[in-house]
């Protein structure tokens, strides 16, 4: 098998004060920082060897969605690599218009938790390959979970959350991703509320547990602070690794990240 592991820059798009689409990057314990124009950024990352883009609409408001579709069109016109778009997708019509704007996949989070049939309907209409189910996982150490993993001697379970981790659902992530697979999801996008913005590395026990639970490709997200973190998460079974700030703030380039991975035995497209 020569399928390569994917390195994916994540681009968080929000409206700036003039109502224009702009890229914002979260910095730990701080406000979001403006980091550029989404289409320009996509062009730059494409040239640097990104394997794919993930665009997340932070606001997911009605105006935000309209603007996002314009951005998707702009990127699809200029950049010929895959594009996943997430944020505020609630209906089959939302999926359709996002794909028609030029997205290759849609990432569904809250919309799928509120109404799991959306996964089934989307997969039936457009094929599983474009339905990415995104989950915001949070560690819990109480006795409310169904599946526990040992993390440094502590027994934890992972709860699916909504609203950026501010609201729990009581649902066990491992049960949820299994249901998502059964309903026809084509890929699982795993975020960690505990690691988000920390740069301490991905939540490896979480990623490993999800990778073992489903046979779908896994995109690992949250916590990447250096190329070695990507190697670590590929080693526990992730198929793609997502990062935002290390690329946006030029701490590491995509080229050097992929070179590091290649030198350390991870198959990548160079």
């Amino acid at each position: 098998m020569t399928l390569t592991k994917r390195v994916i820059p994540c681009i968080d798009v929000d409206l700036d004060e003039d109502g224009e689409a702009a890229v914002y990057t979260g910095v730990q314990f701080e406000e979001l920082k403006y980091t550029g124009d989404p289409v320009e950024m996509a062009k730059r990352y494409n040239e640097a060897g990104a394997d794919e883009f993930v665009f997340l609409d932070i606001t997911a408001s009605a105006e935000g969605r309209e603007t996002m579709l314009d951005v998707v069109e702009g990127v699809a016109d200029e950049v010929f690599i895959p594009l996943t778009v997430g944020g505020g997708i609630r209906t089959v019509a939302d999926i359709k218009e996002t794909l028609r704007a030029g997205a290759d996949k849609v990432s569904i989070n809250t919309g799928a938790i509120e109404r799991p049939e959306l996964i089934t309907e989307g997969a039936k209409a457009f094929g599983s390959q474009c339905i990415v189910v995104s989950v915001d996982a949070r560690r819990r150490s109480d006795d409310q979970g169904e599946n526990y993993v040992d993390v440094d001697g502590e027994s934890v379970w992972f709860e699916a959350t909504v609203k950026g981790g501010r609201e729990g659902t009581g649902m066990d992530v491992l049960e949820w991703v299994e249901e998502a697979e059964r309903r026809g999801a084509g890929e699982i996008f795993v975020n960690s509320i505990d690691r988000d913005g920390t740069k301490d590395g991905y939540d490896l026990p979480l990623m490993e547990a999800v990778a073992k639970r489903v046979s779908l490709p896994i995109i690992a997200s949250s916590g990447c602070g250096e190329p070695e973190h990507m190697k670590d998460v590929f080693d526990v079974g992730a198929d793609a690794a997502l990062a935002a700030s290390i690329f946006h703030f030029d701490e590491y380039s995509i080229e050097e990240t992929k070179r590091y991975l290649d030198e350390n035995g991870i198959p990548v497209r160079l």
Binding site: M1, A76, F80, D104, A125, Q129, P217
Partner: protein
Amino acid sequence: MSQQSLDRTTTSVMVVDYGLGNLRSATRGLERAGASVTISDDPADLRDADGIVLPGVGAFGEGMDNAGPFRADLVAAAEEGVPILGICLGMQMLLTSSEEANREGQGDVEGLDLVPGRNVRFTGTQKVPHMGWNELSVERPHPLVEGVDGEYAYFVHSYYAEPDDTDAVVATTEYGVEFPAVVANEAGTVFGTQFHPEKSGETGLRVLRNFVNIVAEE
């Protein structure tokens, strides 16, 4: 209709809009490759096209249902030797049938049968869908795959083509099993790429340019 389509000196390619595909990237890719592109949901337009592209995102059964009105004209165009490029699902639709769409008890959904064979699902321990960048291995020289041997292309699919005639296989890729990445019919005018050329960066644009050149020469 794009503005350039009025320019008769350029090669006109029609992208078939059967309601599912991601037409935008395919269209821009073809334009970058020098074609003037018309997106159309009217089967009658097929008769004016120098070349035809069947884009591909979606499920086989749905795709064939939606492409139903185009069937007769696509088959006629293929018989006349008009170059046709099927992408991903669009390639799978060129075959005779697919395991993906077997309506309970009613047998397989019929494909276009322009490249005889069947689409089958990946079996084995590899993750499905096959999603990501994988290597192209050109099996026989063909203008469509000039310059792309050993390059990476972007794939997203759970099924792959098994043409009846192994000569139909132009390039392969390995994912647990060696499967056709590019097929062509016997006449060499109907092609399919399992990968998405419109999503495969420079390599993909090269394939689209090759296709547009083939169209220009026909």
